[in-house]
């Protein structure tokens, strides 16, 4: 059983809580925050494998901006966007900025799990490649 860490940012706290619970129940390290800013704060302290990011959160930072910041702080962290129908275009823009994929709300849980696993696998293989390339440069804490 492999496990990975997921940070979920969504302003709908009921939704957030439940997702976190369900993921934790499946032995996934899940943490929930209710805003983009909080997500960034947390990422600065602790790296996550995957960030599940709601594109539209009223007040505060725009999902796309948060994505940009995450990619700056942790380029290897995979970001999956959560979106409503009205913001599909925004999500497509997010894909261009390096998001792994997007999911339409309301998401079927099975689908979500599938995406998370795929994202983690992608990240793992990326890291493998980088690790190989970095063998000679061990010692640098941040790239």
């Amino acid at each position: 059983m492999f496990t990975f860490s997921v940070l979920i940012a969504d302003d709908e706290t009921d939704f957030l809580e439940t997702i976190v619970n369900r993921l934790q129940k499946r032995k996934i390290e899940a943490t929930g925050v209710s805003s983009g800013e909080a997500a960034l704060e947390l990422i600065k302290v602790k790296p996550f494998d995957i960030v599940l990011l709601d594109v539209k959160m009223p007040g505060g930072m725009d999902g796309i901006e948060v994505l940009r910041e995450i990619k700056k702080l942790q380029p290897l962290t995979e970001v999956i966007l959560l979106t409503g129908h009205a913001s599909v275009e925004t999500s497509i823009e997010g894909l261009k900025l390096g998001a792994f994929d997007y999911l339409l709300k309301p998401v079927k849980f099975a689908e979500l799990l599938e995406k998370l696993v795929a994202a983690f696998e992608n990240k793992a293989s990326q890291e493998q490649k980088i690790r190989g390339a970095k063998i000679k440069e061990i010692g640098r804490p941040h790239s």
């Binding site: 939704f15 369900r22 129908h85």
Partner: protein, 553 residues
């Protein structure tokens, strides 16, 4: 109400147009006629007064010549010589030879006795002492009399002059031939009714007029109205005809030569002109009336038509605005429901997760819990589908442009429904139209439109029927007609058919979003979608799409 408004407008336009065209036209024609009449009258007056002048000159000359020859004779001869009848006769002959126009010649002594006389009347030895002219001669020396009857009882006038010899005075007197004189005067007569005559100061005729009047009868013409030189007067005669009189004083203002002319006769030409003008103006007016009425009617009719079209267009706009607003509202509602729905779904999932835990496994109602949760999930899924439909309807995504072959899209769509249609004995007929161009459009959106239309058609038929699809290329658009022989749409529903959530299907069978989504897709592409339907006979949907030529790659 509207009709009356137009009729009113039409009346007003016609009235104003006629007014502004008639007033100047009539004013102009009246002015021109007046000016012309004035000129014409002036011309006639000038003519008649010219004739009066010329004629008076020749009459004056006539009298002067005769007076002169008489004077010459009196100067040349003595009383004794003239009292010889033979001598006097010789002189009379000479005078008539030279100037003519004398009827007789007589010598009168100072007592008034007619001493010698040459002429047709028996006037020898008549005494003129008491005659008025006798004293005139005595006082003036030379005297040309008015016309009078005298002893001979025939109207005539005389030229008389007095001569002094050492111890006596005598008078030589000649009578002018009235016929000759009248002929002279009458040479000034013109036209059918024109006249020329002489009256004396008191208004008695000195010559005969052309029609009627006796010499010496009183004329009803008042000579005092004629002034210096040549005067032209206008008078009505007894028959009510307008007569022009030109008068000129002769013979030291004792005689008045009058030339008259029937103005009416002269004016006939003017009347003809007037008639012609009236005919032309009337014809012009009639033409203006017809043209004005005709063009105004046409304009009003056109106005009415465009007004009506505008109203129709407005109604359409209002309708499509309404649909757009409804769409927006649906999107808002969908969005608001989406989030709670997501929470419900997740919570249900969480409960299912928890049920797998050991402590619940022994619960009596585990099965019931699981079933209920499953039901909740099922209905969340159902709601989710509706929401997705609504959000799809509201999505304002720009159509993704690609090369679209309408024939292909239609055939594909038919293939989706073919097996279902076959089992229900519905035939879907479409002959690909080779005229249709490839257009730049969104393949999946167009497919959605046709799928919605065909699904509706199939549903409307139910069992046993035909769906005919045909397509046509116009200059700038492609039209696709989907015709079914199903149950048709009741009239009262037809205007609402494109509204979201409006459906005639049984509840749970349709969301009421298909046609409104189709409507919005076609509208976003710049096309139209319309329907014709008759209950019990079927429905025809017409989709018109603009021909957008794909960019050459």
């Amino acid at each position: 109400m509207k009709r009356r408004l137009y009729a009113n407008l039409q009346r007003k336009i016609i009235f104003v147009t006629l007014l502004v065209s008639f007033i100047p036209l009539i004013f102009l024609s009246v002015t021109i006629y007046y000016q012309f009449a004035q000129m014409f009258k002036g011309k006639i007056e000038e003519q008649i007064s010219y004739r009066a002048r010329v004629q008076s000159n020749s009459i004056e000359l006539f009298l002067k010549e005769r007076t002169a020859i008489l004077l010459a004779m009196a100067d040349a001869y003595t009383f004794d010589y003239l009292s010889d009848k033979n001598n006097l006769e010789k002189i009379f002959r000479i005078m008539n030879n030279r100037v003519g126009g004398f009827i007789d010649l007589g010598l009168i002594d100072s007592s008034g006795k007619h001493v010698t006389y040459i002429g047709p009347y028996k006037l020898l030895n008549v005494n003129y002492y008491s005659e008025p002219w006798f004293h005139e001669v005595e006082s003036k020396g030379v005297y040309v009399s008015d016309v009078f009857m005298g002893y001979r009882r025939v109207p005539h006038f005389i030229i008389a002059l007095q001569r002094q010899e050492t111890n006596k005075s005598w008078i030589l007197r000649a009578t002018i031939d009235s016929d000759v004189f009248e002929t002279l005067v009458r040479t000034a007569q013109v036209g059918k009714t024109g006249d020329a005559f002489i009256v004396n100061k008191a208004g008695f005729y000195q010559t005969r007029m052309r029609f009627g009047n006796e010499i010496l009868s009183k004329s009803n013409l008042n000579p005092t109205i004629f002034g210096e030189g040549t005067t032209v007067q206008e008078k009505m005669n007894a028959e009510g005809r307008k007569i022009l009189y030109a008068g000129r004083w002769l013979k030291n203002n004792n005689w008045l030569l009058v030339i008259s002319q029937d103005a009416t006769e002269e004016m006939t030409r003017l009347f003809k002109t007037k008639q012609m003008e009236i005919i032309i103006v009337t014809a012009g007016c009639l033409m203006i009336i017809f043209t004005t009425i005709f063009t105004t009617r046409m304009t009003i009719r056109r106005l009415e038509n465009s007004d009506r079209k505008m109203n129709e267009l407005n109604a359409q706009l209002v309708h499509s605005d309404k649909l757009a607003a409804l769409g927006k509202m649906a999107a808002g509602v969908a969005h608001e429901i989406n989030n709670p729905l997501a929470v419900i779904a997740e919570k249900t999932g969480w409960m299912e997760d928890l049920l797998t835990e050991e402590e619940f496994q022994n619960s009596q109602n585990l099965g019931e819990y699981k079933k209920s949760l499953h039901k909740i999930e099922e209905h969340v899924e159902r709601a989710r589908k509706v929401i997705h439909g609504m959000l799809g309807f509201a999505r304002r995504m720009e159509p993704h442009l690609e090369d679209v072959d309408i024939n292909k899209v239609i055939n594909e769509t038919i293939s989706f429904l073919e097996s279902y249609a076959r089992t229900n004995n519905i035939s879907i007929i479409y002959d690909s139209n080779p005229d249709l161009p490839i257009i730049a459009s969104d393949h999946s959106q167009i497919q959605q439109v046709f799928l919605n239309l065909l699904t509706n058609a199939v549903d409307a038929i139910g069992k046993d029927g035909t769906i005919n699809i045909s397509s046509k290329r116009h200059d700038l658009e492609i039209s696709v007609i989907v015709k079914d022989n199903g149950q048709g749409i009741p009239k009262e529903y037809q205007s609402r058919i494109f509204e979201p959530f409006f459906t005639t299907k049984k509840s749970g069978k349709g969301t009421g979003l298909g046609l409104s989504v189709s409507y919005n897709i076609v509208r976003n592409m710049g096309g139209t979608i319309t329907l014709e339907s008759e209950e019990g006979k079927g429905t025809i949907f017409t989709v018109k799409l603009p021909v957008v030529v794909p960019e050459k790659k």
